[in-house]
């Protein structure tokens, strides 16, 4: 309703303005066209001159105001190694283009004001100037060459695939309308084969169970990654295009059905370290995360890295949300020990009609029996949890003898 009123007001204003236009035309014919034109010309020149500082100051002031929210600035440092280089490149480009932006705008509006038509003034006849034109062809060319070279070095470093045999963590992100399924290869570090024709309600990723690499693969609800270790994400989609987007890590790559893509990056800040950075920055990060709970956790405490979709994929495109957790290596391994038991195969296929390994003793099972035996000696079994939400983190604290202690910031 408010909008309707606003809209009506605007229409009314428009009508008034049209009347002003008509009146002004009448007035100018009374005062004499030439005088009116000279007047209006002077006004335009002055307004253009006034626009210049207001515009430039507005640009700079607003940039300062939003500085704490922009990635790469304020508390939002990049959380990956290549991200720092990207941010650096961004800043170089910002300085170069910033200078050009300010200088050209000053020239544009100053000349407009300075050379506004005046009585008795005549325009100079200047058709070209070869020297000047060569200068302003060559200077941008050199600047661009500098930016291209810098950019391509960073680009080729960032996009390089891993070398065979390199010690990395490989995970798979499978996108579909409208969710991410994150597959961890398990301890064998190799993702098992998939075929889209095998996808069904009991096999959401279409894993081929004949491939033994699939046996220890498990689905993560949160993307768990160790810090300072190269991660290769295999990115693919089941139905339409999606895009694997980790804003804090400067990672973005389309998920294409039929054509697996990848992105290699190294997270260099754990979630906890990032939170500490936000805390130190202060400001809004010290406010309560939930305004209705003034004594609840602060914003920095609830911060999580996020995974989003950045390629239009249908009506739920804006809701393809997952958390990303970066943890120290030891914690990662402890987590891996715990969650590998959620292997999709062992829990849903093993022993069933369609189990191609029926009757065969699997290595992973032997390992699990040993772990179970060891765990039986412990007082309490660790709960299987992956959710980095605060509730569950507190739940972990309750279990005192838990093998795994998810550090909590409280």
């Amino acid at each position: 309703m408010n909008f309707l009123i606003i809209l009506l007001c605007i229409i009314l204003i428009a009508v008034i303005i049209v009347q002003i236009g008509k009146v002004s035309e009448l007035a100018s014919s009374i005062r004499g066209e030439e005088a009116a034109e000279r007047d209006s010309n002077n006004w335009s020149a002055r307004l253009l001159l006034a626009f210049l500082p207001i515009f430039l100051i507005g640009c700079i002031a607003s940039a300062i105001y939003y500085y704490p929210y922009m990635l790469g600035y304020g508390p939002h440092e990049s959380a990956s190694v290549h991200g720092l280089e990207l941010d650096h490149l961004f800043n170089i480009t910002l300085v170069v283009t910033g200078i050009v932006f300010i200088l050209t705008h000053i020239a544009l509006f100053w000349f407009s004001y300075k050379y506004a038509a005046k009585e008795g003034q005549k325009a100079a006849f200047i058709s070209h100037d070869n020297t000047l034109e060569i200068v302003w062809t060559v200077v941008p060319a050199i600047t661009m060459a500098y930016l291209v070279i810098n950019g391509l070095i960073v680009w080729n470093n960032t996009m390089a695939d891993v070398d065979p045999g390199e010690d990395i963590v490989e995970v798979e992100a499978v996108a579909s309308q409208f969710l991410w399924e994150l597959r961890h290869p398990g301890k064998d570090k190799v993702l098992g084969a998939r075929d889209y024709k095998l996808i069904n309600a009991l096999n959401p990723l279409g894993q081929d169970w004949r491939d033994e690499k699939n046996i220890d693969d498990f689905i993560m609800d949160t993307l768990f990654l160790p810090v300072d270790k190269k991660v290769r994400v295999r990115i693919t989609a089941k139905d339409v295009l999606h895009n694997f987007y980790l804003p804090h890590f400067r990672v973005k790559m389309d998920a294409v059905p039929g054509i697996p893509t990848y992105f290699v990056f190294t997270p260099d800040k754990t979630t906890e370290e990032y939170r500490q950075g936000l805390k130190e920055y202060g400001g809004m990060w010290l406010e309560p995360a939930d305004p209705e709970e003034p004594d609840g956790p602060r914003r920095w405490e609830t911060f999580e890295y996020e995974l989003a979709c950045a390629e239009l994929c249908g009506r739920g495109h804006y809701s393809m949300h997952k958390f990303v957790r970066v943890v120290p290596q030891e914690e990662y391994e402890a987590w891996l020990n715990r969650v590998e038991q959620t292997s999709y195969y062992l829990n849903n296929v093993r022993g069933k009609k369609n189990d191609p390994h029926k009757g065969k003793q699997l290595d992973i099972e032997k390992r699990f029996y040993e772990i179970e035996a060891a765990a039986a000696e412990e007082v309490a079994a660790p709960p299987v949890t992956q959710e980095p939400t605060t509730q569950e983190a507190t739940a972990v604290e309750v279990v005192k003898d838990s093998v795994v202690v998810i550090e909590n910031a409280h």
Binding site: E25, G83, A123, M159, P247, Y318
Partner: protein, 615 residues
């Protein structure tokens, strides 16, 4: 050769009828071109009438596209406010929650975003801009009686009209218009089960685009032929005004790139209708594994952007041409570096064909390929920079007249700088990793090819309005239009850079599912309010436009702006055939302003004895 001397009576006649050294010799035209209402206003073959048809149709689509953006901006800026008041218009696309808050259906939100993009890019800024001014100015400024083929020219408009009718019809489908983004990437656009808009909506979208391509090709062939073959005596290529150069090269780009879109869309139709797998492979959707194998969605992106990138130059080059002309005329100075301007238009046009994959750095193409596209993309900055410096130098030591056309031309230069510079970020693939598909991109292309192209169009409309209608638009309303649009457009798009730098992705219906994207409620409200104000200013422009057709100040002299070019040698309201007598002969380039102490020297005036043609 000295100027022809006329008697006083002849001078008067020329004033009324336009330039014509032999006007009493053969006064043809009137009988031959007399027309009925239908052949004059509807199925007209007169390039001037077709230009007006393109302009008015373009304005209709501009308003439609603008209204669509207002609706989705309201949803984005005020997600908690109720949009229930739009229910009488949008019907089932407004869903009312239990608490009584009406909000836009996400699917329809995407439909609005998609159709907004499609119609503004194709119908407004291609047909409405290039179609209008190429038609109006090519024959007038080259010195031709009409296009090479007036009949094809008429068909060109009617194919455009038909494309519009089909697109308009798709708005009323029960499954909604196409909603997969103006780029229509498959598989989303290929599979009806992926989104309801990908059903009949997509079929109509594809048909509309194909009709539109036909329109562009018919127009383009005509523009090129006319410029090459029908220039008047003495009008060498390097005597052409920059407007014609821009339209000419634009038509060439269009002719080379639109057929590729045509084939891309055709293959998409095959995938949809007859089960081919050009773009589809390994798809599991709606609980079903589909049979398509071996296709590549990326192939479509290549075909699309092979048009899509040149398309942005198809949009901006005519605006550049118009602005070059308007800046020069109103500074009373020659355009600075005429030949450099021509070469830079040509360079931009050439480069525009080898940069398309810079839209696809993050789409899964081999990262090695991107090296070439980064290089060529950033090279485009050089001719673009040359153009900007030349425009600014044109102002230097001028005697500037701030007509509305001039104000919009200056605004164009400002927008082109602002939007062009952010292209340097995006064209560098490494930075694009972070900025790709964020609001930074939205800000970039809206400023550089949206707002800037609109400014070029406004500049042209204000400048050549007297040529079209024999009257002037109201200057005060025009100035209000300019200032509100200038400030308002920056208010809309400048803050989007910040949300983009914060990583907020484009094409999000809501931002609250992600903590990282949820901090910009204020910015989004501000942008929405600015958009409403700017839209109101455009309504003002439309009012001014139609009001002035009948009530504007009458044009009393044939050459109100004191311009050198040929269109101002025609009568105030030129009939079919443009010049009542013989076509004028050209003796010099189009930019002799302020030469030898004279305010301007028309192109029709022969060179003086010791005068050299200087450019």
């Amino acid at each position: 050769m000295a100027a022809v001397k006329y008697t006083e009576e002849e001078e008067l006649l020329i004033l009324e009828e336009g330039h014509d050294p032999h006007f009493h010799d053969h006064h043809h035209g009137d009988d031959k071109y007399r027309m009925s209402f239908i052949s004059h206003y509807i199925f007209s073959m007169d390039h001037k009438m077709i230009a007006k048809q393109f302009l008015v149709t373009g304005m209709f689509w501009g308003i439609m596209g603008g209204l669509m953006s207002l609706v989705f901006r309201l949803q984005l800026g005020f997600p908690e406010e109720s949009l229930a008041w739009l229910k009488p218009v949008l019907g089932k696309w407004i869903t009312i929650s239990e608490t009584g808050v009406g909000s836009l259906d996400p699917e329809f939100y995407y439909a609005l975003v998609t159709i907004h993009g499609t119609v503004i890019v194709f119908f407004v800024l291609t047909a409405g801009l290039s179609g209008t001014f190429s038609n109006l100015l090519i024959p007038l400024q080259c010195g031709a009686r009409d296009m090479a083929s007036p009949f094809l020219n008429m068909l060109s408009y009617w194919f455009f009209f038909l494309a519009g009718v089909v697109m308009f019809a798709s708005l009323f489908l029960s499954t909604g218009p196409f909603s997969g983004g103006w780029t229509a990437y498959p598989p989303l656009s290929a599979l009806p089960q992926a989104m309801s808009g990908s059903g009949a909506g997509m079929t109509l979208w594809a048909v509309s685009i194909i009709l539109f391509v036909v329109s562009v090709l018919l127009g383009g062939v005509n523009y090129i032929t006319t410029v090459l073959n029908m220039r008047t005596k003495g009008m060498s290529m390097f005597r052409l005004p920059l407007t014609i150069w821009a339209f000419f090269i634009t038509a060439i780009i269009g002719l080379l790139s639109f057929p590729v879109l045509f084939s891309g869309v055709l293959l998409l139709i095959f995938d949809r209708a007859i089960g081919t797998s050009f773009y589809l492979s390994d798809i599991y959707i709606g609980g079903q594994a589909l049979d398509y194998v071996g296709g590549s969605p990326i192939l479509y992106q290549h075909l699309f952007w092979f048009l899509g990138h040149p398309e942005v130059y198809i949009i901006i080059l005519p605006a550049m041409g118009i602005v070059s002309e308007v800046l020069s005329v109103n500074s009373r100075k020659p355009i600075f570096g005429y030949k450099a301007m021509v070469y830079s238009i040509a360079a931009i046009a050439f480069l525009s064909f080898i940069v398309w994959a810079h839209h696809m750095f993050m789409s899964g193409v081999n990262p090695f390929i991107s090296n070439f596209f980064v290089l060529f993309t950033l090279i485009i900055a050089v001719p673009s920079a040359v153009k900007v410096f030349n425009w600014i130098s044109t102002l230097y030591k001028g005697n500037i007249r701030f007509t509305n056309a001039m104000l919009f031309a200056i605004g164009f230069v400002s927008m082109f700088i602002s939007g062009g510079l952010t292209g340097i970020f995006l064209g560098n693939s490494a930075i694009d990793i972070q900025l790709h598909d964020t609001y930074f991109v939205v800000a970039h292309f809206h400023i550089v090819m949206g707002v800037a192209a609109f400014f070029g169009m406004f500049s042209g409309v204000y400048h050549w309005y007297p040529k079209m209608f024999g009257r002037f638009m109201n200057p005060v309303l025009g100035k209000i239009h300019f200032w509100v649009t200038m400030i308002g457009a920056y208010a809309i798009f400048w803050p989007m850079h910040y949300t983009g730098m914060a990583g907020v992705p484009r094409r999000y219906y809501r931002f609250d599912s992600f903590e990282a994207f949820s901090y910009f409620g204020e910015i989004n409200q501000f942008i929405t309010i600015a958009a409403v104000v700017v839209f109101a200013a455009q309504v003002l422009f439309i009012i001014n436009f139609f009001y002035s057709i009948w009530n504007g100040k009458k044009q009393t002299t044939v050459n109100p702006w004191g311009a050198t070019t040929l269109e101002w040698t025609t009568p105030i309201e030129p009939g079919h055939g443009n010049w009542p007598g013989a076509i004028p002969v050209v003796h010099r380039w189009a930019y002799d302003y302020g030469k030898d102490g004279r305010d301007f020297i028309p192109q029709t005036e022969p060179l003086g004895e010791n005068e050299s043609e200087s450019h």
